[in-house]
Symmetry: C2
Subunit: 355 residues, 2 copies
Amino acid sequence: MEEKIVKSVDRAPTISDVARQAKVSRATVSRAFGQPHLLSREMVAHVRAIAERLGYVPNHTARALSTGKAGNLALLVPDITNPFFASLMRGVQSKALSTQYATFLADSDENPDLEDVLIAKLAAQVDGFILASPRLPKKTLLQHAGRRVCVLINRDIPNFARILVDGAKSYEQAVEHLARLGHRAAAYVSGPRLSWSNGQRLRAVLAAGMRYGVKIIQFATDRPTFEAGEACAAGLIESGTTAVLAYDDLLAQGVMAGLARHGLSVPEDFSVVGCDGVLATRTYPPLTSIAIDCHSAGEKAVELLVDVMHDKSSSGKRIVLPTDLVIRATTAKPRPVGRAYHPLMPGSPKQTKSE
Amino acid sequence: MEEKIVKSVDRAPTISDVARQAKVSRATVSRAFGQPHLLSREMVAHVRAIAERLGYVPNHTARALSTGKAGNLALLVPDITNPFFASLMRGVQSKALSTQYATFLADSDENPDLEDVLIAKLAAQVDGFILASPRLPKKTLLQHAGRRVCVLINRDIPNFARILVDGAKSYEQAVEHLARLGHRAAAYVSGPRLSWSNGQRLRAVLAAGMRYGVKIIQFATDRPTFEAGEACAAGLIESGTTAVLAYDDLLAQGVMAGLARHGLSVPEDFSVVGCDGVLATRTYPPLTSIAIDCHSAGEKAVELLVDVMHDKSSSGKRIVLPTDLVIRATTAKPRPVGRAYHPLMPGSPKQTKSE
DNA sequence: TTGTAGGCGTTATCAA
DNA sequence: TTGATAACGCCTACAA
């Protein structure tokens, strides 16, 4: 027999369609899906049956507008191409998925203005943000945080929920490690000048250099990229240092490639230390690196975000993640004969480092 | 106590706030953003100025509810950790941004079931999908495509809008290149068995091998990862081949590292060719690779998606992107003395370093 | 336990 | 060129 199921083909069924068919109010239908405990068992079953016949599914957008909860979160990164952030993303997504959130990804390309725009555009569709290494000024950040929950990764601002990867101790250990091997001068190849991580790592290296009698020379880069690391090679060779501590693995890998292109080998001519541990096994020789559990950092960020959304009181929470110095094959004693092996012939065109 | 910077519960400014400040109707404000051509220049400027001052940004969700368009798209990738997909993502996002779309990112971890779940969950919030190397069975794909517009990347199914990176010619050139250098036996280190790209590349290599008199041996890997490439090294050394064509750069890089760990050097002992061009300059020696413009592939995907959404007739469109064999430093003549240098002592579990 | 009615922020349809 | 006003689909006090 033909049921009297009137379903228009062109339009997706709405709550009203279901209500009409079920001969109940729209509120009842709404409750049948959102708060079934407020309805009688029979009613819930009844409504859901009708809904199923009609192919009704609650409209996510309408619900979001009405409740102000989107069921989404956004992850902002400065460069998804950097394996550290890619891994972070995986951690975020896996946790988000198991917590019923969908994830927007936005790449700010290290650009604060773009970061601002992206946050603003996403704000209405998102219950919260995970901001990885945000470059935004504190003031702007506070503004956004006033509207949407924000969890910061590697930026330390009071009253913000934040996850900090504390590499200081490991960097100190790395310097000590180099000192024990006999290095007397090392370079720190920096990451983004204004990033919290960079400041923290630089300070740790400087302090440890002082303590262990290792002279530290700083090499600035604008962005932590392979190319930037590579570009440091010539300067490193000139610098009289015998070891490099890089801001991250990508830079370290670039440095290694750059050194190789100048005919130097690691660790014979230079010792190299990276950070993140995400590229460490992917280089040859395997990179001595300060390992970070990026995946769990991502998961923790989501947990913290959910935490804060659920209970505002836990905003301001500061979670510190440990790191581990993992010694692999890129660190060794410096060349015995005082000076490092120097492949650049005097007058060679490459020799254009004169300031 | 610290400064009480609790920017408190100020809600985001709405269209009404702007309208009030600008002393115009909400409709006018709406037009100033959505259809400025319907307004006088002065009015647009006026409204936008006020909006900026207030920090107003159109509410994406409300707009979506009103227009029936979500204004979002989703990119699905098998592994965001792979630089190819990371670059793709950047292309997608940049184009999406300039087209007023926000981007969900979902990582299926090469898992078809997860892929299915992710698509289903995202469907309600998205106008369309960009599916990169989808592993889903055709049937399932068709199902999803019935609900939401789908653009495929590197999967060739009739009637689907799709973007194909056609590496066949370049792989043939690569084999020819190797043949001319004098190689007589080469290995193809495969990617995902069922992926379209892998099939295409494998066929091209086999055909070219036939034509140029190069014996091809296939090495299977389950996933295109650095580790998988590395794991092939021992087998490659045993295989009697003198060159490797890898499914992608990540595998190639792994292979190189694996060879190095066995004491072999590239290109002296082995020639290596990768694909994607995204890691090529980041290895040492610089990898000979088949370059793909991932970024523009991402952009093209968005364009195509928008195209199809705007005009259903252009679904089924098949866009083929070219590739380029870029010869760098990992390919050279094989060792003159018939057999390749063979560092593995018979019965030796693992050779350390013999130099 | 269920219904009524107002509102979420925009866009779209008419008028003016 | 601009302004009222009704949708858009759903949720949620407040009532019954």
